[in-house]
């Protein structure tokens, strides 16, 4: 071996990348050649100097920061989809057009496939770009295409898709995917909504829609929407100033409610929680990821908190719980609390509207004592408030401030539900300043569909 060859191979030799044979060749040469030996030693010294540079150790704080950043990104993304008026219009227009189309082609166009409980979709219309992942490859989605169990269907930005839903080979309804949605068609009457939003109507259920965090919405018949639960997070983040990262990640809460909450959260879930920005005299605690299949953890947590006089807003199968405490009053402003006491979770809060489906029990509270309602009819009474309002530069969406209670209930007829919306005060932010909101109308509603028009007045707080 010549010096030139040896010098070429020295780095590989030093890094231990050579096979036995060339290695021996080099070693033989080095034993006899002083100048190459020097070169070899210098490379070895350089490598050991590099290797001895101290490594950064793993750190909980680093992981926390990264996970929080991801959670914020997630919330931002969802907020982008839901609160951008342009996109929203498009979604609604797309969905309406798709619904019309589905109605036109419905009936005769259903095709039948075998399989007892498996779901499949037949694509009716694609606006924009959609892809299907099947057998390890992506393929473009076109009208008429069948999406089978095990397939994943993904819509791109500014793209919506409509499909017929089949369960066990029988036509079971319609389904619309909003833009940036990822849906896994699973077996067993299940759709896994991994991202984005879907809505549709089921005529032959039950259909299970597993949304963010594995919580399942079961629809037997009627309209459904899913994926909108993230609304809660983003609505609050729009209403309340979005929490910035605290100056010091380990800052301690001095306010008793927070200390208590933080302790309880950690005890129950193992998650540590962080304060948000308190520049608007409000502090927030954001729980991302405290969840359990049936909300057991949260139930314990809620009970514990309720004993402390703190109420929570959360959704049925628990994804995100949030609350805010005013610095002066030390009192929870949001007091909307909904829970499903039996059966599968079929209660969802959608963009400020609250809907209850049959067979559920819910408690919704604004101010005053909690009101309780159990809806046992097979009809689908809807409680819907239109809370969108343009204030200052910001479009605010105010989550439910409804109290409702059953006025009359017996087993033979649908319950009469009274819905009261008055004097509810929730915290809002207008142009970065705290503002008060008063709901001015009170409506008494009866059986069937309940539509609650609400007029909301916004006042800047002095």
């Amino acid at each position: 071996m010549k010096c030139k060859d040896v010098l070429d191979l020295l780095p590989a030799y030093t890094l231990g990348e050579l096979d036995a044979e060339p290695r021996r060749g080099i070693e033989d040469h080095l034993a006899n050649c002083g100048s190459c030996r020097d070169e070899g030693e210098r490379r070895a010294r350089a490598l050991s100097a590099m290797r001895s540079l101290p490594a950064l150790e793993t750190a909980e704080a680093r992981r926390d920061r990264a996970a929080e950043a991801m959670a914020r990104e997630h919330a931002d993304r969802v907020q982008g989809i839901l609160l951008s008026p342009r996109r929203r219009r498009r979604w609604l227009a797309g969905a309406a057009a798709a619904a019309l189309l589905a109605a036109l082609v419905g009936g005769g166009a259903w095709t039948w496939i075998r399989g007892r409980d498996s779901c499949s979709l037949r694509v009716v219309e694609v606006r924009g770009r959609a892809q299907c992942f099947r057998n390890g490859a992506w393929r473009p989605v076109h009208p008429g295409m069948r999406i089978e169990s095990g397939d994943r269907i993904v819509t791109g930005a500014e793209s919506v898709l409509s499909a017929e839903l089949h369960i066990g080979g029988r036509a079971a309804g319609t389904l619309h995917l909003n833009q940036n949605t990822s849906l896994l068609v699973s077996g067993d009457r299940t759709l896994d909504l991994e991202r984005g939003e879907i809505c549709g109507a089921v005529v032959r259920g039950p259909l299970h829609v597993r949304a963010v965090g594995n919580d399942t919405v079961t629809v037997r018949s009627g309209r459904f929407e899913s994926g909108l639960r993230e609304t809660v997070a983003l609505v609050l983040s729009a209403v309340f100033k979005r929490p910035k990262r605290p100056e010091n990640a380990d800052v301690e809460f001095e306010d008793q409610p927070f200390a208590t909450v933080a302790r309880e959260v950690e005890k129950i879930s193992g998650h540590s929680i962080r304060p948000g920005n308190d520049s608007i005299a409000t502090r927030h605690v954001w729980f991302y990821g405290i969840r359990s299949r049936k909300g057991d953890l949260l139930s314990d947590f809620e009970t514990a908190m309720r004993d402390q006089g703190i109420w929570f807003r959360r959704e049925a199968d628990v994804l995100i719980a949030q609350f805010a405490v005013t610095a002066e009053k030390r009192e929870v402003m949001h007091r909307l609390f909904a829970r499903v006491t039996e059966g599968e979770a079929t209660i969802a809060s959608t963009g400020g509207a609250l809907k209850l489906l049959a067979g559920e029990e819910g408690i919704v509270q604004t101010a005053g004592t909690p009101a309780k309602a159990k809806l046992s009819s097979n009809e689908t009474p809807w409680l819907r408030g239109d809370y969108y309002s343009s204030v200052g530069r910001r479009k605010l969406s105010i989550p439910g401030t409804l109290a409702f209670r059953v006025v009359r209930q017996d087993d033979r007829q649908p319950p009469l539900v009274e819905c009261v919306v008055e004097g509810a005060e929730i915290l809002a932010v207008v142009d970065g300043e705290p503002a008060s909101i008063r709901v001015e109308s009170a409506v008494r509603a009866g059986e069937g569909e309940v539509v609650v028009p609400v007029r909301i007045r916004f006042d800047r707080r002095p």
Partner: protein
């Protein structure tokens, strides 16, 4: 044992859970690549505070580009690719605003990479215990910054992230042979930089 073999096995199920917004999944994903990734970034950018920020931003990008991820690709190389691109962006910004040190107020860097503004302005962990660094360590880390970016990234990925040449080749988008050559050249350069010998002397033949 290579980290990529055991600790960095990331299944698509985990990514799905990340896409759903599950906090636990985020932490799992972060935890699996944390050490090699943060050390790669640290040695690449040279400053610990910046490295921590790039690390965090990497995962934001992971989430943002999740829809484009092909399940057949390796999650690990994908994450490293994102981190590497961020480091490159940062280097570009740094070059463009050479007169302003990176740790100066973010306000000074008008026109810089905007995504990094918040990141750089954000609170950072306390500075590392740099004072008691040995002379050799100081020289070694300095030498590292003197390498050309291509050589530095290849070496850093090899030494501090402990990735295979195949993986590095995917991350830096260069053939395996080229990557190997860069690593070897980097070691040659370092040995020269650290022992102060002139290149011609070092490569002189017998």
């Amino acid at each position: 044992m290579k980290p990529s073999e055991v600790s960095m096995q990331v299944d698509s199920d985990l990514l799905t859970r990340c896409a759903r917004g599950e906090d636990k999944a985020y932490r799992e994903l972060i935890g699996r690549v944390e050490k090699p990734l943060v050390n790669f970034i640290f040695r690449y950018v040279g400053e610990r505070n910046v490295a921590e920020d790039v690390f965090q931003e990497t995962f934001v990008r992971v989430l943002r580009t999740l829809p484009e991820f092909r399940p057949e690709a390796s999650v690990v190389t994908w994450i490293f690719t994102i981190a590497r691109n961020l480091c490159l962006d940062l280097a570009k910004t740094k070059r463009r605003h050479r007169e302003v040190p990176l740790d100066a107020g973010a306000e000074d860097r008008e026109g810089g990479v905007l995504q990094f503004r918040d990141v750089l302005r954000s609170p950072v962990p306390p500075p590392e215990a740099g004072a008691e660094k040995s002379e050799m360590e100081r020289r070694a880390s300095e030498a590292l910054t003197l390498l050309t970016p291509a050589k530095r990234e290849a070496l850093v990925l090899r030494l501090y992230a402990d990735l295979s040449y195949q993986e590095i080749s995917k991350i830096v988008q260069a053939p395996v042979g080229t990557v190997k050559f860069r690593v070897h050249e980097a070691l040659n350069d370092l040995s020269r930089l650290l022992t102060g010998t002139d290149r011609k002397e070092a490569t002189g033949t017998e």
